[in-house]
Symmetry: D2
Subunit: 304 residues, 4 copies
């Protein structure tokens, strides 16, 4: 079933809140999202700044210990402008370099959702009106956290959250561990495009039209967000420093390769050693995100 | 001029040692290298294990404060087998996962240098005789370090070294800061292929045929290794944790974008924020390596 | 006023929950706590394991932006035995060392609350029945977190939490930022004693008798937990890696030295540079804790 | 035998250089040192800035795999003034705090070597002429590094080096692994006093009179610097981030407790868990230093 949803409640935490809609296994959710400051498609502020989320969506049948599959059918901006910060974060450069950074401003990008482009309007720099192709993605995607916690949409953990990973785009299938009955899915913080790491602290922030299909995978327990597309399987870890995020991501992908592809730890290691790819999600938020990927062409047949 | 060199001396440090050959600006060096344990193309051990290096090569005219450009014309294995460790390092997974890892073995890969493939021969695993395409690269490339130090070829710093970055392959142009007269170039530790991060502690280790062309760029001072190909410019940082490596790489690329492309810190930030890519070099060696990249298609004309 | 409280509700998160008791500025709270697995003074399990907390206590007059002062009048075990894990965490040793660690067991310590000693009863080791002096402390102390979050009592942040800092003992005065009306104070996870860092993942875990006096400091905003005793002022930071925790602690102590002691950034730096002390709180929990301390004898008169 | 040495050669690296003096097992070395900028007791610049070292001293009988014991008999300033930087390093505070730090200056301290005090002369601040008790220590102490490396006296590793640990003071006994024949001992970079972490990048920098007694411990191999005094045994680790330094230090102290005190890994863990202390050496230099300590009163009899 396809649910066209119009959100009116927005949380700034991922938490065990009252569901805004109940979905069945296999249902599709169509919803707009607000930008990171709470502005909608019409340029009206609808919620407090700081990644206001749509949700939680209750998925019938999802129980703690299950896995929630979320197919990102479509993520696309629904208005003609986005905004972005203009200066790299002090902690992504060396301290002496940080001390010479200019003041952070908020720039404006004109977004052409037909052509799929974003054009820098402000500030005026030697870049002029540089135009980039859109690669729309969801900065926030996840479920209610472990142990009935309510965790800010500024950060991420095992439940997903504000991972700011470029992979959360149209066509990606993602998986989250279920910690609460109904899983309690949230999303928000759309970016028209973003560089690796979200190193200025924003992508091109914009409200989105989002279409997601949900499935409950019973009796399959995962520990960290996972995903796949036609070419890759991957796992994400969220932690500080990056090394910690990478440890979680690598462990989780190895676990997947072992449980579903029949590889023991040595075979998985041999393949990872010569073929692994890593993506940097974010290095801006309180927890950083690293993604560990394996190309499907190297893997044996999936056995489960 | 083209020098066909046959090495007989091998150092396990990058340091201010007696040059083995003098090159002119623009010369091309053709040399074999040993594998990480000191074995050559014929399967004879020629030096002590631990990344024995060929070099140092003295480049006439290079003075401290200059930059050494090294064009990697060709890196290709010169024998029919390589070896690789079989288990991911304990520090790339979470500690509880590390405790269940099997014992590290040394596997063998048959290398077909005509077809450009590597085939797993040992150990026997469910992977069978999996075959990978070669992506030959240099694990070690760099110059004599700052301050007359002699630094192990197991690690890396501002002079380059054991960066284990997949980008050091045929067709890449690289740059190193010059700290000693003549720069004193070294290379070694070839990998027939390698995954991101060198997370098992090796690529497919093999002896190589290497062809490098050197140029001295006078009065241009850089702080960290840089490189470029047709599509990207990049800078590398070597440090622990990964965050520190990323800080150096980002700062160095911003410096490059400012000095050579006419961008101020804000314009460089805007571009990096929405368009930067990061590669993980290694997360195995004492210093980890992150590479910060900018696609040339986004950059203004180079002005210097 | 002195409130002798008998808890019946226990949360495993610091969060904006219904208060269990209302206190006035200046009131004293006397309460028992459970041990980290939920057992009370009589050896009865009263709550789920994982640092069940007593609280939240609502302090009248405390508003977001104020500071809550908590004087730890007394922390002392209230039963005759505690327990502790027996093996250092895998992440406090190097990975190759971690792989040779034995299986974790739970040991037992006999606690003499009159004499103030703990004696190892199990396991049997060459240490025999080693006896330690008690230094009772609170592993968990803090308030409801920022932004209506509910954060596990396994970890810590700006609101305090599971800091496992040996300084939270009888005689210490502590300060927390107020994020919710009433501050919503929680405590628990008592340790009869503990080494720096809580590197086996526990102190000697035991139920406690706790006596705290609370004061509201209006219109004084702090960012991180602070404290003082006769000799020192200090600030704590909670983050990963330790470097991040140290950055927060140092920044917070400098802020305090500037606002209350009339020092500018240079004077504060000069004093810190030659006189600062750091304590390691924990390096076991999801956020690590570092404490930055300045001896009062070096400071000018407090001016505010 | 007692050697009163007058240095004339100064290296800025720890490396396998020509010895300046040969010592026998049990000999005592008396030598002055220069300050971190190369100035001597008379205020004359004798060497290039950047921690110029006295040494290397060759200790007869020391072979790779042995341990060098260095008893610090006396470290005391030999002139009436020292200098110190005035601003905390950008990386010991949070980035937004770093951006507001003032410019670094070099302050002056009058040192009374009779009374044992240092008095701030410049800059003028609200601290006035604050006077501190001297706690003189050696910023640099160590031997030639592993693998014939030459490593800058700005940093540290397994050979010791620029650890900037307050424990390197009169009365301390220290141990270093031997990597080169004769061990090749170096020292320098004296501080009249210093706070934990050397967070302004200097202690009160001053030339010293140093008296060291050396012993060779044959056939005892250690991996990292160790030490002891009447109350404690300790081990140091040097790495980034602090977590890495702590891992090395903890592993090394556990190894010591196992080999010399008859404890197995569980017994050592139990003791460390409840009784360990950690000191922060430096968090300024390229490698940070953490020290893991165990009070002797908790340890069984030493069995080797």
């Amino acid at each position: 079933m396809r649910h066209v949803f119009e959100p009116s409640v927005f949380y700034n935490n991922f938490g065990p809140y009252e569901p805004v809609l109940y979905l069945q296994d296999g249902d599709t959710l169509v919803t707009p999202s607000l930008d990171a400051r709470g502005w909608d498609a019409k340029g009206i502020q609808r919620a407090a700044r700081g990644n206001p989320l749509v949700g939680p969506f209750y998925i019938e049948g999802a129980e703690p210990g299950d896995t929630l599959q979320v197919d990102i059918k479509r993520v696309w901006p629904n208005r003609d402008h986005g905004w972005a910060k203009t200066v790299v974060a002090g902690h992504v450069v060396v301290p002496e370099h940080a001390q010479s950074l200019p003041e952070v401003r908020v720039g404006t990008w004109a977004v052409d959702i037909e052509k799929g482009t974003a054009t820098l309007m402000e500030p005026e720099t030697v870049l002029g009106q540089i135009t980039l192709d859109l690669e729309p993605m969801l900065g926030c995607l996840g479920v209610a956290p472990m142990g009935h916690q309510a965790i800010s949409s500024a950060t991420s953990a095992q439940h997903g959250g504000n991972m700011d990973y470029r992979g959360y785009k149209s066509g990606m299938t993602t998986y989250f561990p279920v910690f609460e009955p109904g899983a309690l899915l949230f999303t928000g913080d759309g970016h028209a495009t973003q560089g690796d790491g979200e190193i200025v602290g924003t992508g091109i922030e914009i409200s989105m039209d989002i279409e997601l299909t949900v499935h409950v995978i019973k009796d399959k327990t995962i520990r960290w967000p996972r995903g796949e597309d036609a070419d890759y399987i991957w796992a994400a870890g969220n932690d500080r420093p990056l090394d910690g995020a990478l440890q979680h991501a690598t462990s989780e992908l190895m676990a997947w390769m072992r449980s579903d592809y029949g590889l023991d730890a040595e075979a998985a290691s041999i393949l990872l050693g010569q073929c692994v790819d890593y993506d940097l999600g974010n290095i801006f938020d309180p927890a950083y995100t690293m993604v560990c990927k394996m190309a499907k062409r190297f893997l044996p047949e999936r056995c489960s």
